[in-house]
Amino acid sequence: MIPFIEVLKRAQSGPFCKPREWDMKVIYEKVRNTLNEHGLKGTYDPQNPVNTDDGLADEFFKAAFNLALEVGMYCIDTQRMIKFSEEELKEAIYEAVESVTIGKYPDEAFLRARKPEDEVLPTAFFGPFGLPIDENLWIPIHQSTAQYRVVDALVPGTLERLYGVEIRAGTPIETLAGKYEAVLTKEAVRRAGRPNMGLSGPETSPTEFGHFGGYGVPGGYEATDVNIVLAVAELKTDYARLHKVAHILNLGAPICSGHESMVGGFPETPEGATLVSIAAVILEIVVLQATIPGGNPFDVRFSCNTSRETIWADSVSGQAQSKHLTRPLVASLSTLAGPCTDMLLYECTAKGVSVVVSGHSLLWGVRSSGGIYKNYGTGLENKFAAEVTKASAGMKRSDANEIVKEILPKYESKLKNPPKGKNFLECYDPTTLKPSEEWATIYNRVRKELIDLGVPLQKR
């Protein structure tokens, strides 16, 4: 693997490119050209949201490799393109990481490299992923997910306040909040009887400060937890992200990366977003030194990744990545409906089934209600997502396609105006951590519906 110091050197000395030129010439034009050259334009198949064509996935990977080679990754701060040779990129993609352990005995979880239709179980890495959460509800909301043993590791929300003081990005309060978030999350898993459960975080770190304050410090997140470095935009990085990488490398911990490749944005179409997403994963392995790379096509129209277009794009992208890389691969789940709605569970199902059969190792979520509304996260949707993803292991892509075809029409028309649902206090008892009767009834009804559709939830 290319040393990180070399990446930093190239961030300072690579070809200069103005931001506008990057967006319109490099991304927009090159993506269009690459799709045309590889005969991939027009391959989006809305009738079959889960891809079953291995040849298509292979061609996308080939095209994405060429794109990654040609353009590299853009450093916003220096306005330079961080580029690599063919040998350097090949070396990176051939390097195998079979498994990564997170958390500690006896609560550890294993993130394993998977292939399409693999029987190896995906890791259920769930929680109120990035949702704004009140500090006084932080522990019960996180404990409500950690209490379910089907969930292997916990993804926290985002803190809005620290001892009542509003947290602001880029200030010393963010630095303090990084550790505070870790302390509260650890308390939640301790109360759930799983003190060594694997975590990710700090989530409250839009800049590098929250990360420095919360990761690798005494009482904070540990090197056995996962720290995610999220890209700002397609194939772009900046010094804030690279600071995080440097810090994680100093700690000797695995790096998890992520990005959103916008359907409707500069890559334009589902095919464009697929191509860019695969190229981003290849480049994240070298630029961000990611052990666990990942990311998603994301739908600009709705701000989610559960639309038909993004599910198709993610299935092709996941298959291309998992067929050609041997690493745990991450997808994320950004839904629009809130808790206590059947739509939220349908979104979890469509996304969960499709990414697991496509070879992803874990589905990072559940970011419910568009990630907008405070405290709109509960344990039940995370338990549900964990059950669905594990039940999908070993399923044929053709069967998954039929299931997703049935599920999508149940919520697609509501993506523009999704149901907000109910917040934690409205559908969970904060003391007993049991869902309300209404929420439990919805869960049981949708669960039965899915079993009837062929999702083998009864086995779990």
Binding site: D23, M24, Y28, I76, P132, T158, L159, E160, E166, I167, R168, A169, G170, T171, E174, A177, T204, P206, T207, V232, A233, D238, A240, M262, G264, G265, F266, E268, T269, V300, R301, S303, G370, G371, I372, Y373, K374
Partner: protein, 220 residues
């Protein structure tokens, strides 16, 4: 010689296609044919841009196409605008907008889409970029005599900076001078109301609609 209706159609079409060269050519033809520049802009360029906005809303075209269309429009405007005299000028520009993403937030795609759409809707847009501190928005607004300050934030821990801009405007005694619109992934209508913003845009189309509403009846 081409009919005026043909030139108007060419102006409209050049914007729809996002063809900068064709837009400049059609604008030059409009000037050569003594076409009223206000008519050329309103019945040619703006008509085309409205259709582009509509197509974007329906997801028939994507962000890069909107940018190319806005570029084509800008290019034709650069030839037509200097020829507008007197009251016609007031009809062409709806107002001046300062736009940016708040401090601590690097996200620019949403902000760029809104800026492009505002531009296309005949607002003069001044972009202060990403990670912009409150004072940068206000300094730019003061410098160019803005009508609207449009503020984007994607994250829960960056949206308080939207309030900071309004607070700073209040503290500087400038609040009445500007309309403030907020938007972005973390922002809700309730938040906009809570911090005392004048408007909220759920997406680019809504933001433009809100901006137009806020400058309605304003004598420019």
């Amino acid at each position: 010689m081409k009919k005026k209706s043909e030139i108007l159609k060419e102006l409209e079409e050049s914007v729809i296609q996002g063809d900068e060269e064709a837009a400049r050519k059609a604008a030059a033809e409009a000037i050569g044919a003594n076409l009223d520049p206000v008519v050329a802009i309103e019945d040619g360029l703006t008509k085309g841009m409205s259709l582009v906005g509509e197509k974007f809303r329906k997801y028939e075209i994507f962000v890069p196409h909107v940018i190319l269309s806005a570029d084509a429009m800008k290019s034709a405007l650069s030839l037509l605008e200097p020829r507008i005299k007197g009251e016609g000028k007031a009809k062409i520009t709806l107002g001046k907008v300062v736009i940016g993403t708040v401090y601590g937030d690097m996200h620019d795609i949403g902000k760029n889409i809104v800026a492009t759409m505002l531009n296309a809707a005949r607002f003069n847009v001044y972009d202060v970029g990403v990670e912009a501190p409150a004072r940068r928005f206000i300094e730019k607004a003061e410098e160019i005599g803005a009508d609207i300050i449009a503020v984007s934030s994607l994250m829960a821990v960056t949206k308080p900076y939207q309030r900071d801009i309004i607070d700073l405007l209040n503290d500087m005694g400038l609040r009445d001078r500007y309309k403030v619109i907020v938007g972005g992934g973390a922002v809700t209508p309730e938040w906009a109301e809570d911090i005392g913003a004048d408007g909220y845009g759920k997406d680019a189309v809504e933001a433009v609609r809100m901006a137009k509403k806020l400058v309605e009846g304003k004598c420019l």
